[in-house]
Symmetry: C2
Subunit: 160 residues, 2 copies
């Protein structure tokens, strides 16, 4: 409670694996995937509302993802973002890699740049497994397969 307020470190800073930008990116791509099955397109405003993110911020992120071929886009009326056969073959790992880099999959848990098999940090072996599991999870989840999953049940993408 108030205890938290006076603490320098602690619960004020709440970190998860991904950066906020990356969370938005994943949710945005999922949203586009779900909404554009039949050649439809969605605009940034619709996406921002759908995943409850700042409009201009998600626009920036999507521009980069589109440049990298992770989503498709088209300007002008009836334009917007969409997925096609190609983009649907990408995985969640591709998104994370594009936004947060490969540190999550390869980096040392304690932030040591020189950590390796020969010169391991005290948690090297343990983290290797966790990183591997995480990478496998993200790398086996193709957007196209998520699309099918969306058909069968309800999932939430907005924080409200």
């Amino acid at each position: 409670m108030s205890f938290i307020k006076f603490c320098y470190l602690c619960a004020i800073q709440q970190k998860w694996m991904f950066s906020k930008t990356c969370e938005y990116a994943i949710r945005a791509v999922m949203f586009i995937t779900r909404e554009t099955k039949d050649g439809k397109r969605v605009g940034v405003r619709e996406i921002a509302e759908g995943i409850d993110s700042p409009v201009h911020f998600i626009a920036k992120i999507l521009q980069e993802l589109s440049k990298r071929g992770i989503v498709q886009s088209l300007k002008g009326p009836t334009g917007g973002f969409y997925m096609d056969g190609n983009t649907l073959t990408h995985t969640l790992a591709d998104i994370v890699l594009a936004v947060d880099g490969d540190k999550l999959f390869n980096g040392c848990g304690l932030g040591l740049s020189e950590c390796s098999e020969k010169q391991p940090c005290p948690l090297h072996a343990e983290f290797k497994k966790i990183r591997k599991d995480l990478h496998e999870l993200l790398a086996r989840t193709k957007l196209g397969e998520l699309q099918d999953k969306f058909d069968m049940s309800t999932f939430y993408l907005s924080r409200r």
Copy 2:
């Protein structure tokens, strides 16, 4: 290479699970654990050098950790930080919890505050397992046991 430099998102931002502050915290406590077996104490300068971190920054972090009973400290000449029977029973999870909060163990992978069993995000089930593995790893690693491990083999705590 230069390709990376011009990218808005991407490899510039390299995230891992923990905040940098938390990485420093873990390494500092490990360092203290290793260096203060027989009633010895280590000063911040020595710690900062040992784990290659900014002196004043790690000082701040350690002040907080000492306030929370994760490390012990004593002012004055021959003073410094050290571990005792009590602090050695703490786990790595305690450090992470103190510094980064519990989001890593409990939060939604996509950053949704309302994510739950009833209203899951599309990766809810998958992330649950990863989070659990990570928490178990950190919660079963007691500092005291690490101390024994340090005795038997060499591990690196500095990034150089």
